[in-house]
Amino acid sequence: MLLLEGVAKSFRNGFTALKAIDLRIDAGERVAIVGSSGCGKSTLLRLVAGLAAPSTGRVLLNGEPVLRPNPAVGFIYQEPRLMPWLRVRDNVGFALRGRAAERREPVRSALRRVGLEEYASFYPKQLSGGMAQRVAIARALAPAPKLILLDEPFSALDAIKRADLQNHFLRLWESEKLSTLLVTHDVEEAIVLADRILVMHPGPGRISAELRVELPLEDRRQARGFADLKQQLLDSLRHDEAPTLVAHG
């Protein structure tokens, strides 16, 4: 589905944000990348999304190089990024092509999937943060993408809302069998939402470890092994980051 080969990204100011990234995501697979702030996670997603071009290496989507944003890819951002002048239904239909009548059904079904049908005629200012993020999810789902990119999608929410939306997203994923690439600095979120977790380290950003999550889909936080996995992830995040500061014992 998605393939990155030797991808590096340097900015015009000479700063190298990513170096030699190799990554493969198969259809229906859920991959998370965890890394500390500033290690290049968002940059990586922007390359995959076609919003920026890699300096070297290739980004391939179904074998085709990604040169510009692709309708088969949906993006869910850290903030809802709703257009404040559009009602919920028009925000959800924002990326849809075709006549108004043709857009109505996909919009309704996307709103139904996030449980916000009743709010179709609301303006974004009338929504809570969690609802707004669900609208953003509906907007990403409406064009029926094959791959969803998530950039710390729930980090602006309180713990309860976050867990709610994570579960919600899991159910959606189960019914749609989307491939997902999630980047986050929240290791719990990575464990809950992914089958495979890549650990990223800064300076310049690179992938330094990979873990498989072999827990049942439901209620992973309560599952045995969750705490171990979390500790393992935290360790590998910490170790490479500041090797001289870590006391090995």
Binding site: R81, Q126, I160
Partner: protein
């Protein structure tokens, strides 16, 4: 830990996202009578000022030929109105404002769009326009009169120049400052530049553009006074000069009052026209936003 706490205790906390979601439905609108009453509040202060003024000047505390009573001013307006003169003055001044404002705002909208959207256009045009802005607009008057004569065209040109800059500036800046994150949503949707402009940049810039239009309209009314004071045989500005040369303070005050009313009225029209496109704005509750 948080998951085991009863939800009710969480809901009373300050976290904004916690309350049950269906509660977020908008409150029903308050009645028409209430809103009329609230609108009416704005008339209270002017009315009080007029009342005090009337009471003081009825006793001729100050010489009445210099400061006539409000009723005297109203009488002057009445006389002008009954002779048909008032309509003529008001309509000629309004017509000048309308032409100048239209000209200025069309030019400002076109150029503001260009420099707000295109980097190249901005690099080429903006420095020139910014430096022209620093010329006191009245300095154009001799040039306009030389080029366009002393009649209508030079007046309209001056008003257009006055209206141009606030509109140009607000539109150009607003377009330039549209949230990059929203633009990115458009790019993800596969929009190319024309679509980005009309589906994201323009709606996002609209509130500031309207503010610019209202500012431009205000300046148009200011500049029509300048234009008419400098040479006109008709119009409210002419009444000002006429009142001065014939020593009639009531005529001057009548003209000022009419300017105030017309300026406010046209601004209200502009606001009404734009209001329904801007209802999405999330104004803070101190201003009673719904």
């Amino acid at each position: 830990m948080t998951t085991t706490r009863p939800v009710a205790s969480v809901a009373t906390g300050a976290a904004p996202t916690v309350p049950a979601e269906p509660a977020a439905r908008p409150r029903p609108r308050r009645g028409r009578g209430f809103s009329l009453l609230r609108r009416g509040r704005g008339f209270l202060l002017p009315f009080l000022i007029l009342l005090v003024w009337q009471l003081i000047q009825a006793r001729q505390v100050l010489p009445t030929n210099l400061l006539p009573t409000p009723t005297e001013v109203l009488r002057t307006i009445g006389t002008l109105a009954s002779s048909g003169e008032l309509l003529e003055h008001v309509s000629i001044t309004s017509w000048r404002v309308a032409q100048g404002f239209l000209l200025g705002s069309v030019a400002a909208t076109a150029l503001g769009c260009l420099t707000g959207v295109s980097r190249t256009a901005r690099d080429i045009l903006d420095p020139l326009l910014q430096s022209l802005r620093n010329i006191p607009s009245l300095a154009w008057v001799p040039l306009f009169i030389l080029w366009l004569g002393i009649y209508e065209p030079s007046k309209v040109a001056l008003i257009a120049v006055g209206a141009f800059f606030p509109i140009y500036l607000s539109l150009s800046e607003a377009l330039l400052n549209v949230d990059r994150k929203l633009v990115e949503v458009g790019r993800m949707a596969g929009f190319r530049r024309p679509e980005l402009v009309h589906r994201i940049l323009i709606p996002a810039a609209l509130p500031e553009y309207v503010t610019g239009l209202r500012g431009g309209l205000g300046l148009a009314w200011m500049f029509v006074v300048a234009a008419e004071v400098m040479g006109a045989s008709k119009g409210l500005g002419f009444l000002l000069v006429d009142g001065q040369t014939t020593g009639r303070a009531s005529l001057i005050l009548a003209s000022i009052l009419l300017f105030a009313v017309l300026g406010k009225l046209t601004d209200a029209v502009l606001w009404l026209l734009s209001h329904r496109f801007l209802q999405w704005q999330d104004s803070h509750s101190l201003q009673g936003g719904s």
